[in-house]
Amino acid sequence: MIYNKSVGYKHEIEAMVLGVLREGPLHGYKISQSIRAQAQGLLKLGDNQIYPVLHKLEESGLVQAEWQPQEGKPPRKVYSLTEKGSERLETHQKDWQRYTNSISMLIGARAATDV
Protein backbone atom coordinates (compact mmCIF):
# COMPACT_ATOMS: atom_id res chain seq x y z
CA MET A 1 0.00 0.00 0.00
CA ILE A 2 1.60 3.25 -1.08
CA TYR A 3 -0.28 5.69 1.15
CA ASN A 4 -0.15 4.04 4.52
CA LYS A 5 -1.27 5.48 7.86
CA SER A 6 2.20 6.60 8.86
CA VAL A 7 2.04 9.51 6.43
CA GLY A 8 -1.44 10.71 7.41
CA TYR A 9 -2.13 14.30 8.34
CA LYS A 10 -1.38 14.13 12.08
CA HIS A 11 1.69 12.05 11.40
CA GLU A 12 2.98 14.65 8.96
CA ILE A 13 2.86 17.36 11.63
CA GLU A 14 4.46 14.95 14.09
CA ALA A 15 7.22 14.19 11.58
CA MET A 16 7.77 17.89 10.89
CA VAL A 17 8.15 18.67 14.60
CA LEU A 18 10.55 15.76 15.08
CA GLY A 19 12.49 16.88 11.99
CA VAL A 20 12.84 20.43 13.28
CA LEU A 21 14.00 19.22 16.71
CA ARG A 22 16.71 17.13 15.06
CA GLU A 23 18.76 20.35 14.81
CA GLY A 24 18.62 20.88 18.59
CA PRO A 25 16.35 21.88 21.49
CA LEU A 26 13.78 24.57 20.66
CA HIS A 27 10.78 26.24 22.26
CA GLY A 28 7.29 26.33 20.75
CA TYR A 29 7.58 29.60 18.89
CA LYS A 30 10.88 28.64 17.23
CA ILE A 31 9.51 25.23 16.27
CA SER A 32 6.47 26.79 14.60
CA GLN A 33 8.65 29.37 12.85
CA SER A 34 10.99 26.69 11.50
CA ILE A 35 8.10 24.62 10.21
CA ARG A 36 6.45 27.67 8.66
CA ALA A 37 9.71 28.75 7.01
CA GLN A 38 10.43 25.31 5.57
CA ALA A 39 6.85 24.48 4.60
CA GLN A 40 6.95 27.17 1.88
CA GLY A 41 3.39 28.32 2.53
CA LEU A 42 1.91 24.82 2.40
CA LEU A 43 1.09 24.79 6.12
CA LYS A 44 -2.39 26.21 6.65
CA LEU A 45 -2.65 25.49 10.38
CA GLY A 46 -2.56 28.02 13.19
CA ASP A 47 0.81 28.05 14.97
CA ASN A 48 -0.88 27.06 18.21
CA GLN A 49 -1.78 23.66 16.74
CA ILE A 50 1.76 22.41 17.28
CA TYR A 51 1.19 22.40 21.06
CA PRO A 52 -1.25 19.44 21.18
CA VAL A 53 1.22 17.60 18.91
CA LEU A 54 4.16 18.51 21.16
CA HIS A 55 2.25 17.34 24.24
CA LYS A 56 1.41 14.06 22.57
CA LEU A 57 5.04 13.55 21.56
CA GLU A 58 6.12 14.33 25.11
CA GLU A 59 3.63 11.86 26.53
CA SER A 60 4.85 9.19 24.12
CA GLY A 61 8.45 9.83 25.17
CA LEU A 62 9.50 10.95 21.69
CA VAL A 63 10.50 14.40 22.95
CA GLN A 64 11.36 15.70 26.37
CA ALA A 65 10.57 19.14 27.69
CA GLU A 66 11.98 21.48 30.30
CA TRP A 67 10.75 24.84 31.55
CA GLN A 68 13.50 27.45 31.22
CA PRO A 69 13.22 30.67 33.23
CA GLN A 70 13.89 33.97 31.42
CA GLU A 71 14.80 37.27 32.94
CA GLY A 72 11.88 39.69 32.93
CA LYS A 73 9.80 37.35 30.80
CA PRO A 74 7.57 34.32 31.38
CA PRO A 75 9.42 30.96 31.39
CA ARG A 76 9.55 28.99 28.15
CA LYS A 77 9.13 25.28 27.65
CA VAL A 78 12.01 23.92 25.60
CA TYR A 79 11.64 20.64 23.74
CA SER A 80 14.36 18.24 22.62
CA LEU A 81 14.40 14.98 20.74
CA THR A 82 14.84 11.73 22.68
CA GLU A 83 16.48 8.59 21.35
CA LYS A 84 13.06 7.08 20.78
CA GLY A 85 12.08 10.24 18.92
CA SER A 86 15.14 9.95 16.66
CA GLU A 87 14.17 6.38 15.81
CA ARG A 88 10.61 7.48 15.04
CA LEU A 89 11.96 10.25 12.82
CA GLU A 90 14.00 7.71 10.86
CA THR A 91 10.86 5.63 10.31
CA HIS A 92 9.01 8.72 9.12
CA GLN A 93 11.86 9.56 6.74
CA LYS A 94 11.84 6.07 5.23
CA ASP A 95 8.06 6.00 4.88
CA TRP A 96 7.99 9.44 3.33
CA GLN A 97 10.85 8.59 0.96
CA ARG A 98 9.04 5.47 -0.19
CA TYR A 99 5.82 7.40 -0.63
CA THR A 100 7.35 10.29 -2.59
CA ASN A 101 9.40 7.91 -4.74
CA SER A 102 6.28 5.95 -5.65
CA ILE A 103 4.28 9.06 -6.44
CA SER A 104 7.17 10.57 -8.43
CA MET A 105 7.48 7.40 -10.47
CA LEU A 106 3.75 7.26 -11.12
CA ILE A 107 3.49 10.89 -12.10
CA GLY A 108 6.64 10.65 -14.20
CA ALA A 109 5.32 7.62 -16.08
CA ARG A 110 1.97 9.27 -16.71
CA ALA A 111 3.69 12.47 -17.85
CA ALA A 112 5.91 10.52 -20.24
CA THR A 113 2.96 8.84 -21.92
CA ASP A 114 1.20 12.19 -22.26
CA VAL A 115 4.08 13.68 -24.20
Partner: protein, 360 residues
Amino acid sequence: MSEVLVDYLVSQYANDLQKELYVRGVPAEKTKAVLGESEAHLRDMFEERKPETAESYKNLMGQFGSAKSLAKEIAKERERSAASRKFWWPALVTFILAEILLHRGKPGPGSIAYSVATVIFGIGALLVLGFVARKPSVGQFGALLVLMILGGSAYAGFTGYPIGNLTASGVVGPPYMILNLQEVPGFVKRSQDVIAKRQLIINQIGVGGDFYASGKAETLVPSFLKANGGYLSPDAMGRLEVGGVPSPMDTVSNFEDAKKTWTDGFTAKRVADQLNDEMNWSKSSLRYLTWVRNQTFGTQVRMDVLALTLVNVTYCFQALLLTNVGWLIWLLVRFLVRSVRRWRASQTIFGIGAKRVTDV
Protein backbone atom coordinates in the same frame (compact mmCIF):
# COMPACT_ATOMS: atom_id res chain seq x y z
CA MET B 1 1.87 51.88 23.64
CA SER B 2 2.77 48.61 21.89
CA GLU B 3 3.70 46.97 25.19
CA VAL B 4 0.33 47.88 26.60
CA LEU B 5 -1.35 46.49 23.50
CA VAL B 6 0.70 43.28 23.66
CA ASP B 7 -0.21 42.87 27.35
CA TYR B 8 -3.85 43.42 26.50
CA LEU B 9 -3.84 40.92 23.60
CA VAL B 10 -1.94 38.30 25.59
CA SER B 11 -4.22 38.65 28.60
CA GLN B 12 -7.34 38.59 26.42
CA TYR B 13 -6.10 35.43 24.72
CA ALA B 14 -5.23 33.84 28.08
CA ASN B 15 -8.72 34.61 29.41
CA ASP B 16 -10.40 33.08 26.37
CA LEU B 17 -8.12 30.06 26.44
CA GLN B 18 -8.61 29.47 30.16
CA LYS B 19 -12.38 29.66 29.70
CA GLU B 20 -12.37 27.22 26.78
CA LEU B 21 -10.10 24.78 28.62
CA TYR B 22 -12.33 24.99 31.69
CA VAL B 23 -15.44 24.26 29.59
CA ARG B 24 -13.73 21.16 28.20
CA GLY B 25 -12.71 19.92 31.64
CA VAL B 26 -8.94 20.23 31.15
CA PRO B 27 -7.26 19.90 34.58
CA ALA B 28 -5.80 23.00 36.24
CA GLU B 29 -2.19 21.84 35.95
CA LYS B 30 -2.47 21.22 32.24
CA THR B 31 -4.31 24.53 31.80
CA LYS B 32 -1.49 26.33 33.56
CA ALA B 33 1.12 24.74 31.28
CA VAL B 34 -0.84 25.54 28.10
CA LEU B 35 -1.40 29.13 29.24
CA GLY B 36 2.30 29.52 30.01
CA GLU B 37 3.37 28.19 26.63
CA SER B 38 0.83 30.30 24.75
CA GLU B 39 1.85 33.46 26.55
CA ALA B 40 5.55 32.83 25.91
CA HIS B 41 4.78 32.09 22.24
CA LEU B 42 2.72 35.26 21.76
CA ARG B 43 5.29 37.48 23.48
CA ASP B 44 8.15 35.96 21.44
CA MET B 45 6.12 36.44 18.29
CA PHE B 46 5.34 40.11 18.95
CA GLU B 47 8.90 40.81 20.05
CA GLU B 48 10.44 39.30 16.93
CA ARG B 49 7.91 40.48 14.35
CA LYS B 50 7.40 43.98 15.81
CA PRO B 51 4.02 44.74 14.29
CA GLU B 52 3.23 48.39 13.72
CA THR B 53 -0.35 48.60 12.54
CA ALA B 54 -3.56 47.25 14.01
CA GLU B 55 -3.87 45.12 10.88
CA SER B 56 -0.51 43.46 11.43
CA TYR B 57 -1.38 42.71 15.07
CA LYS B 58 -4.60 41.14 13.88
CA ASN B 59 -2.78 39.10 11.24
CA LEU B 60 -0.27 37.79 13.76
CA MET B 61 -3.04 36.77 16.17
CA GLY B 62 -4.78 35.07 13.26
CA GLN B 63 -1.59 33.22 12.37
CA PHE B 64 -1.30 31.93 15.93
CA GLY B 65 -4.87 30.58 15.85
CA SER B 66 -7.90 30.99 18.08
CA ALA B 67 -8.08 30.03 21.75
CA LYS B 68 -11.10 27.87 20.98
CA SER B 69 -9.29 25.79 18.35
CA LEU B 70 -6.30 25.28 20.66
CA ALA B 71 -8.50 24.27 23.61
CA LYS B 72 -10.47 21.93 21.35
CA GLU B 73 -7.31 20.18 20.14
CA ILE B 74 -5.85 19.97 23.66
CA ALA B 75 -9.09 18.37 24.94
CA LYS B 76 -9.25 16.05 21.92
CA GLU B 77 -5.66 14.96 22.44
CA ARG B 78 -6.41 14.13 26.08
CA GLU B 79 -9.45 12.10 25.04
CA ARG B 80 -7.49 10.35 22.30
CA SER B 81 -4.77 9.50 24.76
CA ALA B 82 -7.31 8.10 27.23
CA ALA B 83 -9.11 6.17 24.46
CA SER B 84 -5.93 4.66 23.08
CA ARG B 85 -5.47 2.50 26.16
CA LYS B 86 -6.59 -1.10 25.89
CA PHE B 87 -9.83 -1.75 27.72
CA TRP B 88 -10.86 -5.38 27.45
CA TRP B 89 -13.16 -5.49 30.47
CA PRO B 90 -16.44 -5.47 28.48
CA ALA B 91 -15.41 -8.57 26.50
CA LEU B 92 -14.07 -10.29 29.62
CA VAL B 93 -17.24 -9.61 31.61
CA THR B 94 -19.37 -10.75 28.65
CA PHE B 95 -17.45 -14.03 28.54
CA ILE B 96 -17.72 -14.61 32.30
CA LEU B 97 -21.47 -13.88 32.22
CA ALA B 98 -21.91 -16.36 29.36
CA GLU B 99 -20.15 -19.05 31.37
CA ILE B 100 -22.26 -18.30 34.46
CA LEU B 101 -25.50 -18.38 32.47
CA LEU B 102 -24.49 -21.54 30.65
CA HIS B 103 -23.23 -23.59 33.58
CA ARG B 104 -24.93 -22.12 36.66
CA GLY B 105 -28.29 -21.20 35.16
CA LYS B 106 -29.41 -24.73 34.33
CA PRO B 107 -32.97 -25.71 35.27
CA GLY B 108 -33.32 -26.37 38.99
CA PRO B 109 -34.57 -24.75 42.20
CA GLY B 110 -34.14 -20.97 42.00
CA SER B 111 -32.48 -21.14 38.59
CA ILE B 112 -34.84 -18.56 37.04
CA ALA B 113 -34.19 -16.04 39.84
CA TYR B 114 -30.46 -16.78 39.56
CA SER B 115 -30.47 -16.22 35.79
CA VAL B 116 -32.56 -13.04 36.05
CA ALA B 117 -30.21 -11.65 38.72
CA THR B 118 -27.20 -12.51 36.55
CA VAL B 119 -28.76 -10.84 33.49
CA ILE B 120 -29.64 -7.67 35.46
CA PHE B 121 -26.15 -7.55 36.92
CA GLY B 122 -24.70 -8.08 33.42
CA ILE B 123 -26.74 -5.23 31.92
CA GLY B 124 -25.61 -2.86 34.68
CA ALA B 125 -21.98 -3.96 34.46
CA LEU B 126 -21.79 -3.52 30.68
CA LEU B 127 -23.44 -0.08 30.83
CA VAL B 128 -20.94 1.02 33.47
CA LEU B 129 -18.00 -0.44 31.54
CA GLY B 130 -19.15 1.32 28.35
CA PHE B 131 -19.33 4.56 30.32
CA VAL B 132 -15.86 4.04 31.80
CA ALA B 133 -14.39 3.04 28.40
CA ARG B 134 -15.28 6.51 27.00
CA LYS B 135 -15.00 5.15 23.47
CA PRO B 136 -16.97 2.85 21.17
CA SER B 137 -16.24 -0.84 21.74
CA VAL B 138 -16.71 -3.02 18.68
CA GLY B 139 -13.56 -4.96 17.76
CA GLN B 140 -13.26 -6.77 21.08
CA PHE B 141 -16.75 -8.24 20.67
CA GLY B 142 -15.82 -9.48 17.20
CA ALA B 143 -12.75 -11.18 18.67
CA LEU B 144 -14.81 -12.57 21.55
CA LEU B 145 -17.44 -13.91 19.15
CA VAL B 146 -14.83 -15.79 17.11
CA LEU B 147 -13.24 -17.16 20.28
CA MET B 148 -16.57 -18.27 21.73
CA ILE B 149 -17.64 -20.02 18.53
CA LEU B 150 -14.31 -21.72 17.90
CA GLY B 151 -13.54 -22.47 21.56
CA GLY B 152 -17.11 -23.58 22.24
CA SER B 153 -17.13 -25.81 19.14
CA ALA B 154 -13.85 -27.45 20.08
CA TYR B 155 -15.11 -28.00 23.64
CA ALA B 156 -18.47 -29.28 22.46
CA GLY B 157 -16.75 -31.57 19.96
CA PHE B 158 -15.21 -33.52 22.84
CA THR B 159 -18.00 -33.28 25.38
CA GLY B 160 -21.27 -33.58 23.50
CA TYR B 161 -23.27 -33.93 20.32
CA PRO B 162 -24.79 -31.15 18.23
CA ILE B 163 -28.54 -31.67 18.02
CA GLY B 164 -30.61 -30.16 15.26
CA ASN B 165 -33.64 -30.87 13.19
CA LEU B 166 -33.36 -33.81 10.79
CA THR B 167 -36.62 -34.21 8.96
CA ALA B 168 -37.92 -37.53 7.69
CA SER B 169 -36.74 -36.53 4.23
CA GLY B 170 -33.20 -36.06 5.63
CA VAL B 171 -33.03 -32.26 5.52
CA VAL B 172 -30.82 -30.84 8.28
CA GLY B 173 -31.88 -27.50 9.71
CA PRO B 174 -32.10 -25.27 12.79
CA PRO B 175 -32.71 -24.85 15.65
CA TYR B 176 -29.52 -26.36 16.98
CA MET B 177 -28.34 -27.14 20.48
CA ILE B 178 -25.44 -28.95 22.14
CA LEU B 179 -26.23 -32.11 24.08
CA ASN B 180 -23.67 -33.20 26.68
CA LEU B 181 -22.56 -36.83 26.51
CA GLN B 182 -23.88 -37.64 30.00
CA GLU B 183 -27.26 -36.17 29.05
CA VAL B 184 -27.71 -38.41 26.02
CA PRO B 185 -29.56 -41.31 27.76
CA GLY B 186 -31.90 -38.87 29.55
CA PHE B 187 -32.52 -36.98 26.33
CA VAL B 188 -33.38 -40.18 24.46
CA LYS B 189 -35.77 -41.32 27.20
CA ARG B 190 -37.44 -37.92 27.45
CA SER B 191 -37.87 -37.72 23.70
CA GLN B 192 -39.33 -41.22 23.54
CA ASP B 193 -41.72 -40.38 26.40
CA VAL B 194 -42.79 -37.19 24.63
CA ILE B 195 -43.41 -39.07 21.39
CA ALA B 196 -45.42 -41.83 23.13
CA LYS B 197 -47.49 -39.40 25.22
CA ARG B 198 -48.16 -36.99 22.37
CA GLN B 199 -49.20 -39.87 20.15
CA LEU B 200 -51.54 -41.14 22.87
CA ILE B 201 -53.15 -37.72 23.37
CA ILE B 202 -53.49 -37.20 19.61
CA ASN B 203 -55.32 -40.53 19.41
CA GLN B 204 -57.51 -39.59 22.39
CA ILE B 205 -58.36 -36.23 20.80
CA GLY B 206 -59.39 -38.13 17.67
CA VAL B 207 -61.62 -40.40 19.74
CA GLY B 208 -63.04 -37.42 21.64
CA GLY B 209 -63.88 -35.58 18.43
CA ASP B 210 -65.64 -38.64 17.06
CA PHE B 211 -67.53 -39.20 20.33
CA TYR B 212 -68.89 -35.67 20.66
CA ALA B 213 -69.73 -35.49 16.94
CA SER B 214 -71.75 -38.74 17.19
CA GLY B 215 -74.22 -37.17 19.63
CA LYS B 216 -73.87 -40.02 22.12
CA ALA B 217 -75.19 -39.66 25.66
CA GLU B 218 -73.33 -37.92 28.45
CA THR B 219 -73.03 -41.14 30.41
CA LEU B 220 -70.94 -42.70 27.64
CA VAL B 221 -68.08 -40.15 27.75
CA PRO B 222 -64.78 -42.11 27.80
CA SER B 223 -62.95 -41.83 31.11
CA PHE B 224 -59.80 -40.24 29.54
CA LEU B 225 -61.98 -37.25 28.48
CA LYS B 226 -63.02 -36.62 32.09
CA ALA B 227 -61.17 -35.30 35.14
CA ASN B 228 -61.95 -33.70 38.49
CA GLY B 229 -65.66 -34.43 38.04
CA GLY B 230 -65.83 -32.44 34.79
CA TYR B 231 -65.03 -32.77 31.08
CA LEU B 232 -61.68 -32.06 29.44
CA SER B 233 -61.72 -29.68 26.49
CA PRO B 234 -59.32 -30.18 23.51
CA ASP B 235 -57.13 -27.36 24.89
CA ALA B 236 -57.05 -29.08 28.29
CA MET B 237 -55.98 -32.31 26.56
CA GLY B 238 -53.20 -30.38 24.85
CA ARG B 239 -52.00 -29.05 28.19
CA LEU B 240 -51.60 -32.51 29.70
CA GLU B 241 -47.89 -32.89 30.38
CA VAL B 242 -46.12 -36.21 30.10
CA GLY B 243 -47.42 -38.12 33.12
CA GLY B 244 -49.09 -34.97 34.45
CA VAL B 245 -52.44 -34.61 36.24
CA PRO B 246 -55.07 -32.19 34.88
CA SER B 247 -55.81 -29.24 37.14
CA PRO B 248 -59.41 -28.21 38.03
CA MET B 249 -58.99 -25.21 35.71
CA ASP B 250 -58.57 -27.55 32.75
CA THR B 251 -62.08 -29.01 33.02
CA VAL B 252 -65.56 -27.86 32.00
CA SER B 253 -68.40 -28.88 34.34
CA ASN B 254 -71.18 -28.73 31.74
CA PHE B 255 -71.45 -31.52 29.12
CA GLU B 256 -73.03 -29.19 26.52
CA ASP B 257 -70.19 -26.65 26.91
CA ALA B 258 -67.66 -29.42 26.44
CA LYS B 259 -69.54 -30.63 23.36
CA LYS B 260 -69.40 -27.15 21.84
CA THR B 261 -65.61 -26.91 22.17
CA TRP B 262 -65.16 -30.39 20.71
CA THR B 263 -67.43 -29.84 17.74
CA ASP B 264 -66.61 -26.22 16.75
CA GLY B 265 -64.56 -27.62 13.85
CA PHE B 266 -61.15 -26.09 14.63
CA THR B 267 -60.14 -26.32 18.34
CA ALA B 268 -59.52 -30.07 18.37
CA LYS B 269 -57.66 -29.90 15.05
CA ARG B 270 -55.46 -27.02 16.21
CA VAL B 271 -54.47 -28.84 19.41
CA ALA B 272 -53.83 -32.09 17.54
CA ASP B 273 -51.65 -30.25 14.98
CA GLN B 274 -49.67 -28.60 17.75
CA LEU B 275 -49.07 -31.90 19.51
CA ASN B 276 -48.12 -33.43 16.19
CA ASP B 277 -45.49 -30.71 15.65
CA GLU B 278 -44.05 -31.32 19.12
CA MET B 279 -43.93 -35.03 18.49
CA ASN B 280 -42.29 -34.56 15.09
CA TRP B 281 -39.65 -32.29 16.61
CA SER B 282 -38.74 -35.00 19.15
CA LYS B 283 -38.68 -37.63 16.42
CA SER B 284 -36.52 -35.35 14.32
CA SER B 285 -34.09 -34.75 17.21
CA LEU B 286 -33.73 -38.46 17.82
CA ARG B 287 -33.14 -39.05 14.11
CA TYR B 288 -30.55 -36.28 14.15
CA LEU B 289 -28.81 -37.75 17.20
CA THR B 290 -28.57 -41.14 15.53
CA TRP B 291 -27.30 -39.52 12.35
CA VAL B 292 -24.73 -37.25 14.02
CA ARG B 293 -23.29 -40.06 16.15
CA ASN B 294 -22.34 -41.84 12.94
CA GLN B 295 -20.59 -38.78 11.47
CA THR B 296 -16.87 -38.05 11.57
CA PHE B 297 -15.44 -35.77 14.28
CA GLY B 298 -14.93 -33.03 11.68
CA THR B 299 -18.58 -33.11 10.64
CA GLN B 300 -19.67 -33.04 14.27
CA VAL B 301 -17.52 -29.97 14.95
CA ARG B 302 -18.95 -28.25 11.84
CA MET B 303 -22.43 -28.90 13.23
CA ASP B 304 -21.25 -27.57 16.61
CA VAL B 305 -20.17 -24.34 14.87
CA LEU B 306 -23.66 -24.07 13.36
CA ALA B 307 -25.24 -24.71 16.75
CA LEU B 308 -23.12 -22.09 18.51
CA THR B 309 -22.97 -19.36 15.87
CA LEU B 310 -26.50 -18.00 16.06
CA VAL B 311 -26.71 -18.02 19.85
CA ASN B 312 -23.26 -16.42 20.24
CA VAL B 313 -23.87 -13.79 17.56
CA THR B 314 -27.07 -12.78 19.32
CA TYR B 315 -25.42 -12.79 22.74
CA CYS B 316 -22.31 -10.81 21.69
CA PHE B 317 -24.42 -8.32 19.72
CA GLN B 318 -26.56 -7.63 22.79
CA ALA B 319 -23.42 -7.14 24.90
CA LEU B 320 -21.98 -4.82 22.23
CA LEU B 321 -25.19 -2.76 22.19
CA LEU B 322 -25.26 -2.42 25.97
CA THR B 323 -21.59 -1.42 26.20
CA ASN B 324 -22.00 1.20 23.50
CA VAL B 325 -25.17 2.53 25.12
CA GLY B 326 -22.91 3.09 28.16
CA TRP B 327 -20.54 5.04 25.93
CA LEU B 328 -23.46 7.09 24.52
CA ILE B 329 -24.54 7.88 28.08
CA TRP B 330 -20.99 9.13 28.72
CA LEU B 331 -21.23 11.38 25.62
CA LEU B 332 -24.53 12.74 26.92
CA VAL B 333 -23.11 13.35 30.39
CA ARG B 334 -20.06 15.05 28.85
CA PHE B 335 -22.34 17.31 26.81
CA LEU B 336 -24.36 18.22 29.92
CA VAL B 337 -21.26 18.86 32.01
CA ARG B 338 -19.80 21.07 29.28
CA SER B 339 -23.09 22.97 29.00
CA VAL B 340 -23.09 23.62 32.74
CA ARG B 341 -19.42 24.63 32.64
CA ARG B 342 -20.06 26.97 29.70
CA TRP B 343 -22.87 28.59 31.63
CA ARG B 344 -20.68 28.90 34.73
CA ALA B 345 -17.84 30.27 32.61
CA SER B 346 -20.16 32.97 31.31
CA GLN B 347 -20.59 34.08 34.95
CA THR B 348 -16.84 34.19 35.58
CA ILE B 349 -13.95 36.38 34.49
CA PHE B 350 -10.87 34.29 33.93
CA GLY B 351 -7.25 35.37 34.19
CA ILE B 352 -5.01 36.94 36.83
CA GLY B 353 -6.96 38.59 39.62
CA ALA B 354 -10.21 37.31 38.16
CA LYS B 355 -13.38 37.71 40.15
CA ARG B 356 -16.83 36.41 39.68
CA VAL B 357 -19.07 38.97 38.03
CA THR B 358 -21.52 38.41 40.83
CA ASP B 359 -18.81 39.26 43.38
CA VAL B 360 -18.29 42.73 41.93
